[in-house]
Amino acid sequence: MLEIEIDGKQLQVSDGSTVMEAAATVGAYVPHFCYHKKLSIAANCRMCLVQVEKAPKPLPACATPVTNGMKVWTHSEQAVKAQKGVMEFLLINHPLDCPVCDQGGECQLQDLSVGYGGAQSRYEEEKRVVGNKNLGPLVSTDMTRCINCTRCVRFTTEIAGLMELGQAFRGEHAEIMPFVEKTVDSELSGNIIDLCPVGALTSKPFRFAARAWEMSRRKSISPHDSLGSNLIVQVKHDVVKRVLPLENEAVNECWLSDKDRFSYEGLNGEDRLKRPMVKQGGAWIETDWQTAMDYVVRGLKGIRADHGPESIGALGSPHSTLEELFLLQSVVRGLGSGNVDFRLRQSDFSADGRMKGAPWLGMSVSEIAGLDRLLIVGSFFRKDHPLVAQRVRQAVKKGLKVSAINPAFDDWQFALQNQLCVSPSEMSAALAKVLKALVEQGSAALSPEFQALVDSVQVDEQALAIARSLGSGRRVAVWMGNYAVQHQDGVALHALASEIARLSGGRFGVLGEAANSVGGYLAGAVPFGAVSGKNASEMLSTPLKAYVLLGIEPEFDLRDAVAARKAFGAAEMVVMLSAFKFEEALGYADVMLPVSPFTETGGAFVNCEGRTQSFHPVVKNTGDSRPAWKVLRVLGEALGLGNFDYESVDAVRAQILGASGSVDPFRLSNDIDIEPLNPAGVSQGLQRVADIPIHFADPLVRRSAPLQATKDSEAPFARISPATLKTLGLNAGDKVVVRSVSGSATVVVSEDEGVAAGCVRLAAAHSSTWALGSLNGEVSVERI
């Protein structure tokens, strides 16, 4: 600890602190622009100059390390003179167009110019004009306003991991720009809008939509990925105008992914469902709630009477709230059925009934910073978990070594120590090899269930390298990605990865696909437990008579769109609770009930680390739509099922989580009672590897026009490795028909060295590929 004095106040600060950090602890505000606590120090704006005893000239607080006995004055005459001098320089070429600038009212330069700027400029020459740049559909530029603080440059390089912006030219001609003909395509790009201290980078979708002071700021939670980023939703006249991060160091820090930030643009599109609709005589009519609910109640009761309760099933989106999923399963179980599930893209359910709790990350996300070894199994990590990947990226800089086993790799923008690329059917063997190598390193004894599988494989160099890496770590983690969870051998992969974690003394975790992937288990929206029934896969393969679908767009959100459409088409009644009028579903649905998106309802999500995060509605209901928890509560009562008299969403949550409102740790567990694992055959044919691209993952994000215009939302290509392309006699750019057992898709081939040999990587959740049905399995590719 060092003793120093700032503005006459004595304080102790730790070694290596800067004057800026020390000043913050005593509440002394030092004006600044380029300094940001999450970015490297640039010391280029010079606004934070302060007076330091014995220093001949003012020093930048952001870059000056504290020394013992140092005396600092942040607002002395010398300091303020320096700060005012810098402010004058910043303003001479700034356009001062605050009245027409979107940053006006929330601009650091505007705010600080009140304190440090002159009433009139001494600069009367021509001002600099800088041409605007096209950074893509999300970030709008007014580069003449730029003060060259380089926060955006440092963000893309350090946080997003890829330098997409830089400062070109020299001196007064210096400009911030992307590479020639490039845009900023990072999935975290929106953060540069927040970071820009002036109006040079502003939100393109929000441009000129409202003034900062006209909007109210309301807290919410992102309904997209499994992190549950904390949001500030800004609302004017009961319309969501934009979304900003709510700083929470334990969850999203001060960042948001573009998906979290811009998905609100999909809230109020043309296909927003505003009134209940029922299909009568093949034609859809809008009706009132009473009529629609009567229709549903009559239908469900009738089907139960005619075909038995087990002919009724429900599927809920993992992006639904805890309360919605709980009430959904309560209705189904109240009717006497156990057919309920929220694991819509999963294919291996063999662990059902043998799980000791809800699968979760096994650690908190803030603990990522302390890891020194990490193995990621089956994940499109960077796009599936943008901010968790960001944390890993920072940890890698501090020495974390990451290995990954995947059928297809993207550039994760951090260095991977080991990268094992194998086809889907070889994944369990690959894990078994790592396990065998760990056993041979002799750390601990192997559980007998794995013996047969481990005996059937030979350790190779890559497996050995991964085992060595994990074995040499002190704080190790092994994570299952979404792809591994959705894999046809998902349970075997889970068991193997978990055993690898155990033998390397590490923690095992599941990253989780959606905002409520943990919460769905806690809500009981799974076909085991109290009353068991059919899982999400079985409900489609052995068709039921009635389906209740909560927040699901069947073509894109289910494992097998072809089977789903067949099952729903044959059912007597399909009830959809949805915020949107799904075009494709109009053919097979019978009732569409308008329910609220996350902005219009209250509830909670349990994120990947088991953190319960509740939120309130931020705007009023649109049209006749109602929160789904209320709809399900009324449905339960109307069906005469009893115990549905919840007065608030909090009461529902208390029923699920108890009075504490948070998850009891013992309900979280990745342990399963496993049965002996046997070697699976390796597929000889061409295998499909399906990723769920970041902006295709749920109905809301699919409707956000600016996100759909990004590079991440390009129509899927059939991505094939160069060697496999050669064996198939194909070239990049060829138009091909990809055929599966269920159907076909016409796409363009692209060459991708990251895809395992013998595989075709073809994204799901897109209109061009749903007709292929299942997310995995063998396919053929034929040029047309």
Binding site: A42, N44, F89, G166, Q167, G171, A174
Partner: protein
Amino acid sequence: MSSQGIILADLDGDRTWRLADYVKRGGYEALKKIIAEKIPADEIIGEVKKSGLRGRGGAGFPTGLKWSFMPRAFPGAKYLACNSDEGEPGTFKDRDILRYNPHTVIEGMIIAGYAMGCERGYNYIHGEIFEVYDRFEEALAEAREAGLLGRNILGSDFSFDLFAHHGYGAYICGEETALLESIEGKKGQPRFKPPFPASFGLYGKPTTINNTETFASIPYIIREGGDAFLALGKPNNGGTKLFSVSGHVNKPGNYEIPLGTPFSVLLEMAGGIRGGRKLKAVIPGGSSAPVLPGAVMMDCTMDYDSISKAGSMLGSGAVIVMDESTCMVKALERLSYFYFEESCGQCTPCREGTGWLYRVVHRIENGLGRPDDLDLLNSVTANIMGRTICALGDAASMPVQSFVKHFGDEFAFHIEHKKCLVPPQVQYEGSKIYVA
């Protein structure tokens, strides 16, 4: 080119840059002595300290002291860099050293590498001098061929290799940390210090950067001893130094003279003022050094202490001589334009301030000056100086301050009468180029 010293001495012959010629002049004897006698590194640094050698690039920092900052027991690579990015207006000495005597720089760097435990060095050569770069590469090839560079130099267990790096001509890359950034392949922009290069330099490793002339002085110091070098100059100002004399003199060029030589002697060596006119002003150490009136300069001796006492800097030793036909406003306008164009744009005061300075001087020169412009210039320079990441802000400000201080009446005349105090005809006769 004229020499009473050690670096440019005996360079009158043909092809003096060849290795054989250098060896004939006593070249590589110092290195051979070190290798043969296995002189400890400390002793070499001690000798350099004793010599009173001060950095020849402009700052005049004691070289021996700088060398002793390099961490001894650092595990891993350490680097050496030679700053031949000679971009300061008025300075043209390093290019002549590299052109006529490249091996003395190479030998100096090998010795420095030996003394500081560096196995690799880079010579960063200014981007606008092409033949010099080619010639230095040839010299490197000769040295490698002769076993003077590379693995196991002269059969010893000491290895050192040296590479030439051709810049792109940016003035800012002469700033040592911008130079390192540029070698690393990044945009040449100064780094914030601390950390200093001795702890975090090239590729994050301990690095020492010296000027070309500094390295060129090393072989003599080792061969003849630090005391001999010191005796060439005067106390605290050891050795001889190259002065690039330009401007209104009859024989502009490089002159190597002992530090402490009177300015009047140097002026005489350069053939005196052209056309027998009167000396008006001298910039004694490159364009960023404050200008001194001729009368003040005539009382100075050419060494760090004397020039500093007179209110300027010896700097890189670029002596810009201006006679009475010079319009000082026009001269400052040209200098200010240089700094405006060469500011890297990284930090605010320099990026915004250099342009402001140039525009104000420009409008005074063009008859659009305002009564309070001199106060404005002083105020803007005060806001730039000491507030920037590197010294370019100071370098841009010092000429403005000193021109206004010493020749304020000329600026006032410009503002009031909207024309030069020096009649255009006189200016033309002085330069034979410029027409006002």
